[in-house]
Subunit: 301 residues, 2 copies
């Protein structure tokens, strides 16, 4: 158990370092004109995120024997999309959050106009990063096109954006298990699922492995969001770096509110088991993916 923990910690640390370094290279410097937008983008990109989505992408590529170092720009693009969504979610017209990862949110530092534009910039640059020659030339063009299409679908109106809208619409309404599942699958789940798929696809996995990893990703996405909602109730701001109890304050529809914390915890565990079952046919190269899956449910931050 302790060995596993140490192994996972060093794996996460190593990958986070690689992702951070790749992001440093991918993102333009603050000396570009107009400086404020480059500062704003970098402020949120280097705010100490866990880099869960890019690491899942890399671990998924490794699980199918792919060369994960080639996928670093793709992993960065996933993190850029994730960060854009956080910046826009935190806006006063959305969740109105002042803190994120223990620091002031983007709009509190750079103003709301710059926060809207920093989000827009990150979303756009993510697609530029994916399609530009330096990234795309490492993969068969059909595969990178497929990855772009999958990522855009997962981030868009039928994915993350749709989930965010459903979440806002559900505020203050009576809990509805169907709507709740929709919100969870889309708001967070889709980007986690697509991070895993993209890794498999560009790691040159066969169709069967892609299908199993897709199911793995879908289950982990759900487990992640349920755990997040539990932490919003049980965690504290010092550990999480953001305000807790926000879901209750906003009358957000979450699993812990629908079924109680203990039942929600069981549901998260169920999805973890489902996810791990999909990896049964994979060899030891999928071990990091298995450990990350467990970490997603057992984490306290």
């Amino acid at each position: 158990m302790n060995d596993r923990k140490t192994y996972l910690e060093s794996y996460l640390k190593e990958k986070k370092l690689l992702v951070d370094r790749a992001l440093e290279e991918c993102l333009p410097g603050e000396d570009n004109f107009p400086e404020i937008i480059f500062q704003s983008v970098r402020y949120s990109m280097f705010a100490g995120g866990k880099r869960l989505r890019p690491i899942l992408c890399l671990a998924s590529a490794e699980a199918v024997g792919g060369d994960s170092s080639r996928l670093l720009p793709v992993a960065c693009a996933l993190e850029m999309i994730h960060t854009y969504s956080l910046i826009h979610d935190d806006l006063p017209v959305m969740d109105d959050d002042d803190y994120r990862r223990g620091r002031l949110t983007n709009h509190r530092v750079f103003g709301e106009d710059m926060a809207v534009l920093a989000g827009d910039a990150l979303l756009t640059e993510a697609f530029h990063l994916l399609a530009r020659k330096e990234t795309a030339s490492h993969f068969p063009p059909e595969k990178i096109l497929c990855a772009i299409s999958e990522i855009a679908r997962a981030a868009g109106i039928f994915g993350m954006v749709g989930g965010q809208v459903a979440d806002i619409q559900a505020e203050g309404k009576a809990a509805d298990p169907k709507v709740l599942e929709f919100i969870h699958r889309h708001k967070t789940g889709e980007m986690i699922r697509v991070s895993v798929i993209t890794g498999a696809l560009l790691g040159m996995a066969d169709d069967n492995s892609i299908k199993r990893l897709e199911k793995f990703g879908g289950n982990i996405g759900l487990a992640f969001q349920i755990t997040d909602d539990i932490l919003d109730i049980e965690g504290d701001m010092d550990t999480l770096g953001k305000a807790t109890g926000q879901d209750a304050a906003f009358n957000k529809m979450t699993y812990p509110f629908l079924m109680g914390v203990e039942q929600a915890r069981q549901k998260a565990k169920y999805h973890l088991e489902e996810a791990l079952a999909e990896l049964s046919g994979f060899d030891e190269r999928a071990e990091p993916l298995r450990l990350i899956a467990k970490f997603v449910v057992e984490r306290t931050v």
Copy 2:
């Protein structure tokens, strides 16, 4: 002269119809869940835009002998990016506009949260539309990847977003010709330039034609924005469908303010001539592009 006008009018009308029909097919219906975001997206997409960018893309493909009907989804993606930028620009934290094309702006109908998300959705769906199989399979994969990369660059931090930021930053400051040129080239110019390039690239133009059309597009982009700023002073709301005099009210840095309306008009004409000169080697298939260029400078709406 009248023949030309009639020809241009029927060309624009025909292409607008094709673009509108293609958009109708590309955009998901309002019966999808959650309905409000699909309504919000469609509200702004079908608000009676001129479809200038998609038509430039199609006309550019035709100028090099390409089959423009294949480019319709690409043209739609360009219009979706343009529309997202309008929705976000109109937000209270940005230009705070209540009317656009004679109708209430998106956020005035659907709320600010939905307007932010509708913009996010359109930007993301544009890239989905470009990369998905139904679109991409019509072109050599390297070409469509190159188009995606060019479009993302033109829309992003080094293009439209950067220009928008510079525009906001310049408000109320003493006019600076260098900054003004930067704003114009980026805020509007880049998306117009890339619409022309994309048409040429996917119309299978040779490198020389692409270069000339790129210069054409750059000049037309500048001429377009200068004309827009003149119309903001001289036009009236009934004709334009949006509030005029906004630039003065916001102390925006524009050419008419820097050099006077007459000098600005001369500058727009200069860029029109430069643009037309680039088309000198093209045959009659570039005629629509020439007429659109003139229309851009001579328009009153």
